[in-house]
């Protein structure tokens, strides 16, 4: 590996942060698409120079940008995200039915083996796929039209499909997560879906172990163990060892089990990371101390990682798509805050340094290992 490129989406543009394999000195490029909200920037594993960016604005709607040179130049591609067939209704915040209405793309998941194939998760929740590099998008309708769809309700951030995981061992298996519907799995490439929420308990919904309705904030998987998923739920850190058949709580000794992102170490499938947040009503770290928590035991036993992170007067949040883990050895970890800092660790979380301090609020962080 010659280096890494961190892709940062913010409230006011996109930035790329590049470094060599030591990850000590960084070059910051941006803002790209200045003034626009960039919910996500993702690179293709099949071609690291192929990037996709979700550019949106309350004024001008959704634009999709594509780069074929690692973010130096960009071209707008297709932005026609149509709900196929009958649109249907979900529940609104007040419990009344409301038609699905496209707001924005939250997340891209490029395919492992083809730079032109990419999945996109939308608000209001739907899954789209492009096989022509983002020029056209087709909805995989079976998810939105699932029989539980009329019961889905938005979380505070909107009814967003924010997580897409493609099983590296089984090209037909896809996991997605929706706030606040829960997690779903397809074993036939998106033609049908099953809710995988057994074992989740959410006190915010009338039936706390309901089949759907859970506010899943993020899922993570290590590619060597595709049946093991980790989840940061609204409250509770969870894991499943049977591809979502059942979940168990692994919050253990965390100071708070509320949070947004969760990630898995690149080379240690039982080493996971979360960023505890005080509560659903106070979206900042407990005690004003920004701490990443690491478990080397797949959950339950957690240790705070504080070296280089502010340990007083820190009241930022870390959003669900704003943590990423590189594949170098030692493994690098990166996260961005609503205060505009992007922190990086080149030693698995033992020590941290701010790569950049004063960006707009960070919405998403991805990282690419460059050949």
């Amino acid at each position: 590996m010659t280096g890494v490129r961190v892709l940062v989406g913010t409230r006011k543009g996109a930035f790329t942060l590049t470094s060599d394999g030591k990850r000590a000195d960084w070059t910051v490029s941006g803002p790209h698409f200045g003034g626009w909200e960039i919910y996500h920037v993702a690179g293709s594993p099949a071609n690291p120079d192929r990037l996709y960016a979700s550019q949106s604005s309350g004024w001008f709607g959704q634009v999709i940008q594509r780069s074929d040179d690692g973010g130096k130049t960009w071209e707008p591609v297709g932005n026609d995200f149509t709900y196929q067939g009958e649109v249907g209704e979900h529940l609104w915040y007040d419990g009344t039915p409301r038609p699905w209405e496209f707001k924005r793309i939250w997340h891209f998941e490029p395919a492992k083996d083809d730079p032109d194939t990419v999945y996109a998760g939308a608000e209001d929740a739907a899954l789209y796929k492009s096989t022509d590099g983002g020029k056209t998008w087709q909805e995989l309708t079976a998810l939105r039209t699932h029989e539980t769809g009329p019961k889905w309700q938005p979380g505070a951030g909107g009814m967003c499909l924010h997580t897409i995981i493609l099983d590296p061992a089984n090209p037909n298996r896809i996991y997605v997560a929706i706030s606040a519907a829960g997690a779903f799995r397809s074993d036939d490439g998106g033609a049908s879906w099953v809710p995988i929420n057994r074992g989740l308990r959410s006190g915010e919904i009338p039936d706390e172990d309901s089949e759907v309705g859970h506010c899943v904030h993020r899922l993570a998987m290590h590619p060597s163990r595709p049946d093991v998923l980790f989840m940061q739920k609204h409250w509770d850190v969870m894991r499943t060892d049977d591809a979502g058949g059942s979940w168990r709580e692994v919050s253990g000794n965390l100071p708070s089990d509320f949070g947004f992102p969760i990630g898995v170490h690149a080379h240690e499938p039982e080493t996971i990371y979360v960023v505890p947040i005080k509560s659903d009503s106070e979206h900042y770290p407990p005690e004003g101390k920004l701490r990443v928590y690491r478990s080397r035991t797949g959950g339950e036993e957690w240790e705070p990682l504080t070296n280089g992170l502010p340990q007083r007067d820190c009241y930022v949040n870390v959003l669900r798509d704003a943590m990423a883990i590189d594949s170098l050895d030692p493994c690098g970890i990166y996260f961005g805050t609503t205060g505009g800092q992007v922190y990086g660790s080149a030693d698995g979380g033992d020590t941290w340094t701010p790569i950049v301090r004063d960006l707009p609020a960070v919405l998403s962080v991805e990282v690419q290992a460059l050949p």
């Binding site: 309350g58 004024w59 001008f60 932005n79 149509t82």
Partner: protein
């Protein structure tokens, strides 16, 4: 020749500077001007009008000749001075914070 002024973000997206000049066959209306604009700059589709309904996006405004035409019918003729190219048709983002 119809003159169109775009907001800064859409100029950047369309990679133009200054006014856009368009040939528009009569009748010259909001709809025919925007159709011509989107034909020439396909990346603007969906940014001014909703793709499905064709309606003006909520935070977009249309001005011309010191008048707010935002709530006029998209098929009403635009003012003569716009049709003659003496005044531009102005597309802009509504004032809002953030």
């Amino acid at each position: 020749m119809i003159r169109v002024v775009l907001p800064a973000h859409l100029k950047n997206l369309a990679r133009v500077s200054g006014e856009v000049r368009l040939e528009v066959a009569e009748p010259v209306t909001q709809r025919t001007v925007l159709d011509a604009l989107e034909d020439r700059f396909p990346m603007l589709r969906g940014t001014i009008r909703d793709r499905r309904s064709g309606k003006r996006r909520a935070f977009i405004r249309f001005y011309a000749c010191e008048e707010d035409l935002s709530n006029e019918s998209p098929d009403d003729p635009l003012p003569d001075r716009v049709v003659k190219g003496e005044e531009p048709f102005i597309v802009l983002g509504a004032m809002a914070g953030g």
